[in-house]
């Protein structure tokens, strides 16, 4: 073998091993990258499982513990004194209905009317400000609405009232309903408005009986979603509606409500009251779910433009 041939061979060998090295190392990094991808994608699956776990547990405990203390008496009887088994939350169920009624009667019309304004005066400076401030009000802790309503409606009159509780919740519905109403009205084609105006309708009749009516299913959905959201609110009621162990439907007296009753029972040391709290929570979630389902039903079943 000549020296030159030896050199070539050696060079070839070196090249070969170099190539092998590259091949091996790229294979290894590719494998590593693939493993990495598997691991990370797998961990997103894991995240989904971990995130749904609390919900499954909460629902499981609610059903297990709530259903066992739920019976007809729960809906028809008044709260039993501590240490006495049985009793119900009849007053709290009616009280929650009363508070929601006050909040809806006050909050929904104002919310819908300001939604109309936002949709019709889209570019106005006030509209931009209201849109932004609605989001701010939405993000405010609900307990602040509680102390606000206390300061305004409880302190001057020196006693708690259903009205003050309803007002605190109404203040929460207004920004929610204003934004959903605006969005729903924007979905109504301008041509419908123009057609009505061309037929000689006045502006306000066009807005109310053509535009608002077309968007109505969507607006009702938005209103129901808002009511579902305030139905479970506790913090705004603590110092306004306050709670009541007795039967009362007067708007000017303290009134019992499901959320405050659940709270009071949950932090008590009595097992009987704990099981009542579980039953109350089950009913409260049932109420929220029924309202939310009704909200979906409204848009699905008509041919409103809002149906998605």
């Amino acid at each position: 073998m000549t020296a030159a041939a030896q050199g070539t061979a050696r060079r070839d060998a070196a090249t070969r091993s170099y190539r092998e090295l590259i091949a091996r190392s790229t294979a290894r990094t590719l494998a590593r990258r693939r493993v990495m991808a598997r691991v990370m994608i797998g961990s997103t699956y894991l995240a989904a499982i971990v995130a749904t776990l609390p919900l499954i547990l909460i629902v499981w405990h609610l059903l297990e513990r709530g259903a066992s203390s739920l019976n007809w008496n729960f809906f028809t009887h008044m709260p039993a004194p501590s240490g006495e088994a049985g009793g119900g939350m009849a007053n709290a169920i009616v009280g929650t209905g009363m508070i929601l009624l006050i909040a809806s009667v006050v909050g929904l019309p104002i919310g819908i009317a300001s939604g109309l304004y936002l949709a019709e005066q889209r570019g106005a400076r006030l509209a931009t400000a209201v849109r932004f401030l609605s989001d701010v009000l939405n993000g405010l802790p609900s307990i602040l609405l509680g102390i606000f309503a206390w300061q305004l409606l409880v302190r001057p009159f020196k006693h708690f009232s259903a009205l003050a509780g309803g007002m605190a919740l109404a203040a929460m519905t207004i920004p929610l309903v204003a934004r959903t109403t605006e969005e729903m009205i924007r979905l109504v084609p301008v041509s419908m408005r123009e057609a009505a105006l061309a037929l000689g309708y006045t502006k306000w009749r066009t807005s109310l009986s053509v535009v608002l009516r077309t968007a109505l299913p969507g607006i009702v959905t938005g209103a129901l979603v808002a009511v579902a959201r305030i139905a479970g609110e506790t913090a705004p009621l603590l110092f306004t509606a306050f709670g009541n162990q007795f039967w009362s439907v007067s708007p000017f007296q303290p009134i019992a409500a499901l959320p405050t009753q659940i709270y009071n029972y949950a932090i008590s040391p009595f097992d009987d009251w704990h099981s009542q709290a579980w039953a109350g929570a089950l009913i409260l979630i049932g109420l929220v779910l029924v309202i939310s389902l009704a909200a979906r039903f409204v848009t699905r079943n008509r041919f409103g433009l809002a149906a998605d």
């Binding site: 499954i56 009317a113 102390i147 206390w150 409260l284």
Partner: protein, 313 residues
């Protein structure tokens, strides 16, 4: 048919309609202004008496008339940050799973479950927290961290395991804010252009590298917005935290020790406050909470808007 009176009547109707909707639109700004004014005015006696010391001292003694809200401020920040640390990776994981990998039926089921988490009232979380989560933490998780992992030597897991604690508050908050963060993140991820993903795959990226190097950076500020939105919720969350955090005016480094938050001080003491100064102090705490949540929310919305993600609910 078109008499002058008729036209007059028409324009009057329009004017009334215009007037009513405009007046309604003013309600939100007026409400917000009133809330700010009422809360600050009612809290002013305490703020003027204690000055900045109101938020930096930790002696809260209604009997002696001393009020320092530092423990509540501390507890609000620590419990919220703890919640973010737990919830953020999970929420982003869920959002990535839902937007990129989940088969359609799974996606709908998980999305439904996560939405449902957001629909559960705070007081129900509190009920579950106080009767299920707290005993579980006290019996299993706290001893595990303190003794099995020997973290009891660090100040963060030292002391007796009471049950109601900063840890319990953080965990319940994490469960509660997770759906908000993942909902916003999902919306932002869906808004990332398809070309961004295809380009990464065409360069030979694995599916994970596509997400990590191309999709997530693109959506970053929107995701941060979602996280800050979750932070805003955690800061103001009242009932569930009040029920599990232990309600004690003390600053402790240990997560096993009970604490307090600004919202839970108000919830817990407001109806029992008898002296004027006590009420004023609670109102001042409310004023602090108002400022913090407004700032946090404004930053969050700005970030989400900037990325062009859909408006968060």
């Amino acid at each position: 048919m078109s008499g002058g009176a008729n036209i007059e009547g028409r324009s009057r109707g329009d004017r009334v309609y215009r007037w009513i909707t405009t007046a309604s639109a003013f309600v939100v700004p007026i409400l917000l202004g009133l809330i700010a004014w009422e809360v600050f005015a009612a809290g002013w006696p305490a703020l003027s008496k204690f000055g900045i010391g109101f938020f930096t001292t930790s002696d809260w003694d209604p009997v002696k008339g001393n009020f320092g809200a530092a423990p509540a401020l501390f507890g609000t920040i620590v419990s919220s940050l703890l919640a973010l640390v737990i919830a953020t990776p999970l929420a982003i994981g869920v959002a990535v799973f839902l937007s990129e990998f989940a088969p359609r039926p799974v996606r709908q089921a998980v999305a439904f479950f996560v939405d449902l988490l957001a629909a559960i009232p705070s007081v129900v979380y509190g009920l579950w927290g106080i009767l299920v989560l707290v005993p579980f933490l006290r019996g299993h998780i706290m001893p595990f961290f303190r003794d099995t992992l020997h973290l009891g030597a660090t100040p963060f897991f030292s002391g007796p395991a009471y049950g109601p604690s900063m840890l319990a508050g953080g965990v319940i908050l994490a469960i509660m804010i997770l759906p908000y963060i993942s909902a916003v993140t999902r919306e932002v991820l869906v808004a990332v252009p398809r070309a961004q993903r295809e380009a990464a795959l065409a360069l030979g990226a694995t599916r994970w590298e596509m997400i990590w190097d191309a999709v997530l950076p693109f959506a970053r500020s929107g995701i941060i917005g979602g996280v800050i939105l979750g932070l805003g919720r955690a800061l103001g969350e009242t009932m569930a935290v009040t029920m599990v955090i232990g309600n004690r005016h003390e600053i402790s480094a240990s997560l096993l020790a009970p604490g307090y938050t600004m919202a839970s001080v108000i919830a817990n003491e407001f109806s029992e406050a008898t002296s004027e100064l006590h009420v004023a102090s609670l109102m001042a705490v409310g004023a602090g909470l108002f400022i913090v949540t407004v700032i946090v929310n404004v930053i969050a919305r700005w970030l989400v808007w900037r990325t062009g993600g859909a408006r968060p609910a």
